[in-house]
């Protein structure tokens, strides 16, 4: 048995990080969750088109490897703060899609009991302190959570997800500085999808790579291809190890792309069809990971199909759960503004 596993290990020695680090079952679970993120957002989009849900939403389709890779080394005790484009982070951190759909549908069974909607989904039990409607709003909060971890010696690590747009907010700079000064167990993850709404990073940001800004705060700045799961996961592992060892924060720039527009109002006038098509056809993170797993013999076509089928089932059931759930009672409109006290 020991020899057999050694043989397996040897056969993986030259493969990328995650294939050495994780079992085939774990990696299949990753593929499952990447599909779950994709289909969740497609399901939400379709429900919106059909008028079943209102408001707006910011889809992360095309960024699934980034969310999954970063969350890979995290435990349920570790915490994240997320963004307006946060469905992927939420699922990657362990949320149930049925309760996410229920939140979209504004139902009491939703994660925020229908009070938050797409932009505020949180799952505190799994360590997700919440998406955030304010660009950069979650970054200082993550630093505060990391300060708690350090003060209470919980060993927790906190990840703050944000986009390229947030790197020009003052909150980003203030938060990174404090995290470095106090050597806090926090990882700053900039998912650079190229555009803050319509404004490209080239037009908005003085540095070529956002990771370069880490130098200003004396922390490692790491650039990864955000569409390659293994690259993201490897960088996250290193940063988590560093944070847990008390060596302080890391800034990871995960370069990726959103296939969809910024939100439902986006007419996509700031980028070309060819550019979008190129990312969708040649650099789709799910296709890349799926092909890699198949090439390395971690999964076969039948295995892929069964994952897709299982995801489709979970999504359909999630939407049904949301539809069947109860709406909040209007008489409860003032609930949760303040903590109920005896």
């Amino acid at each position: 048995m020991a020899e057999a596993s050694k043989a397996v290990a040897d056969s993986r020695a030259n493969l990328p990080f995650v294939y050495r680090q994780y079992s085939p079952e774990q990696l299949k679970e990753v593929l499952y969750k990447m599909y779950l993120i994709r289909r969740f957002e497609e399901g939400a989009e379709e429900s919106y088109m059909r008028g079943l849900i209102h408001g707006t939403m910011h889809l992360s389709i095309g960024q699934e490897a980034s969310a999954m890779g970063i969350c890979m080394p995290l435990t349920d005790d570790d915490q994240i703060t997320s963004t307006h484009r946060g469905h992927g982070h939420c699922i990657a951190k362990g949320a149930e899609v049925k309760r996410m759909f229920a939140e979209f549908f504004g139902k009491t069974s939703g994660y925020c009991k229908g009070r938050g909607g797409s932009m505020h989904i949180a799952d505190v039990a799994k360590g997700n302190l919440g998406a955030n409607g304010i660009v950069g709003g979650g970054i200082p909060i993550a630093v505060g959570a990391a300060l708690s971890a350090k003060k209470m010696k919980t060993g927790k690590v906190v990840v703050s997800f944000f986009g390229d747009g947030a790197n020009n907010e003052g909150a980003f700079h203030e938060a990174l500085n404090m995290a470095a000064v106090w050597k806090l167990p926090v990882i700053f993850v900039c998912e650079n999808n190229g555009y803050g709404m319509s404004t490209s990073t080239a037009r908005s940001t003085a540095v070529k790579n956002i990771a370069e800004r880490a130098a200003a705060y004396s922390m490692p700045g790491v650039i990864v291809n955000g569409n390659i799961f293994s690259e993201v996961a490897e960088a996250s592992h290193k940063a988590v190890e560093r944070a847990r060892a008390g060596e302080g924060p890391t800034l990871i720039e995960s370069k990726t792309y959103r296939h969809r527009g910024h939100s439902k109002s986006d007419r996509n006038r700031y980028r070309t069809k060819e550019e979008i098509e190129d990312w969708m056809s040649n650099r789709d993170p799910i296709t890349l990971f799926e092909n890699e797993m198949r090439d390395f013999g971690f999964i076969d076509d039948q295995g892929i199909q069964s994952i897709r089928d299982a995801v489709a089932k979970e999504i359909a059931e999630g939407i049904e759960f949301a539809k069947a759930s109860e709406s909040p009672d209007i008489r409860d409109i003032l609930n949760y503004v303040y903590t109920e006290q005896a």
Partner: protein, 332 residues
């Protein structure tokens, strides 16, 4: 035996409250700019760093937005931070975290978290610090559901309300008038709380109700004492908490006196006086009014530097006396 109650200054009372809170609960810690060895811009934290160390009396960089956010993040994850803004004017720099995050997080998350953060704001004019270091912005924050906003006017209340704030599961914003820091008053030793959301009748009277906040409570009391000689009997209510507001105490008082005047330092329009007046106009006390409601508030201007101009910008005792005398005409 000396039975004179112990006296502390308003600043000492706050400092003692923070020390008691930190002694009692290791989750409580202080954050702010220059609150460590410097002792705080107004010496409110004083020497606490010597007693509790730099981990619990944390100097922050000059980063109000980030610092407020760190306090919010620490609060939702199990700590009990008390964050000092060096001047209440700097709330403008931290507004995002106060208004969009601290105030709304519990609601947005459907009650899954509480945000037990306390923020302290040295406020008000009278120090010659001019327009950017003298404002009274409490009504800004009072407008935001999810926050609690208080203005203790005495050393006794400063200590008791701060201890109530630390024990409160929700974000509590404390506006402390800088001119009160040196005022002395009786302060019991040990732990006690003064409830948030309860006004205090500082002086009972029959002819006229003055609802005042913070330093204006003392000016109103001075005016009331002066008018006593003229036979005018004024009731002075110290509002203490502007969110939640103790409406009933005001309503009951107005029903008794039939005359209402609001005195507050913040800019007069769209402020606490408007809220109190409108609340009374909407209540069954309206029918008891025998005269139009009077508001005395700050002038519609930034706080000027020149000391005479600065004084003229906010209500002073002679003005309160004149306005109260006028309003009380025909009473009884």
């Amino acid at each position: 035996m000396d039975t004179t109650p112990r006296e502390l200054s308003y600043a000492q009372a706050i400092q003692e409250a923070m020390a008691i809170a930190m002694e009692a609960d290791e989750r409580v810690f202080l954050m702010g700019e220059d609150i460590g060895v410097y002792g705080g811009a107004f010496q409110v934290t004083g020497d606490l760093v010597e007693r509790f160390g730099t981990d619990r009396v944390m100097d922050t960089p000059i980063s109000e937005l980030g610092g407020a956010g760190v306090a919010v993040g620490a609060a939702v994850t199990g700590m009990r931070p008390i964050f000092e803004f060096q001047f209440s004017d700097f709330a403008t720099l931290g507004m995002e975290q106060i208004v969009n995050q601290a105030a709304k997080m519990r609601y947005m998350l459907g009650g899954e978290v509480s945000v037990p953060v306390v923020m302290r704001f040295p406020a008000g004019s009278g120090t010659g610090a001019a327009a950017q270091h003298s404002q009274s912005l409490e009504a800004w924050l009072g407008h935001v559901p999810g926050l609690k906003v208080i203005q203790p006017a005495t050393p006794y209340d400063a200590k008791g309300m701060l201890l109530a704030a630390v024990a409160d599961p929700d974000p509590v914003m404390i506006f402390e008038h800088k001119l009160l820091y040196k005022m002395k008053g009786p302060v019991p030793e040990g732990h006690y709380t003064v409830p948030i959301g309860k006004a205090d009748i500082r002086r009972e009277g029959r002819d006229l109700t003055i609802v005042a906040t913070s330093i204006m409570v003392h000016k109103a009391l001075e005016a009331a004492a002066a008018l006593e000689a003229e036979g005018i009997d004024i009731e002075v209510i110290d509002l203490r908490s502007i969110r939640p507001m103790d409406k009933q105490t005001i309503i009951d008082s107005v029903k008794k006196t039939s005359r209402l005047m609001c005195v507050y330092e913040a800019v007069k329009t769209l402020g606490i006086g408007a809220e109190v007046s409108a609340m009374i106009a909407e209540s069954d006390a309206f029918d008891f009014l025998d005269a139009p409601i009077v508001r005395l508030g700050g002038a519609e201007t930034p706080i000027p530097y020149n000391p005479d101009l600065e004084k003229a910008t906010v209500p002073q005792v002679p003005g309160i006396i004149a306005a109260a005398r006028d309003l009380a005409k025909g009473a009884r």
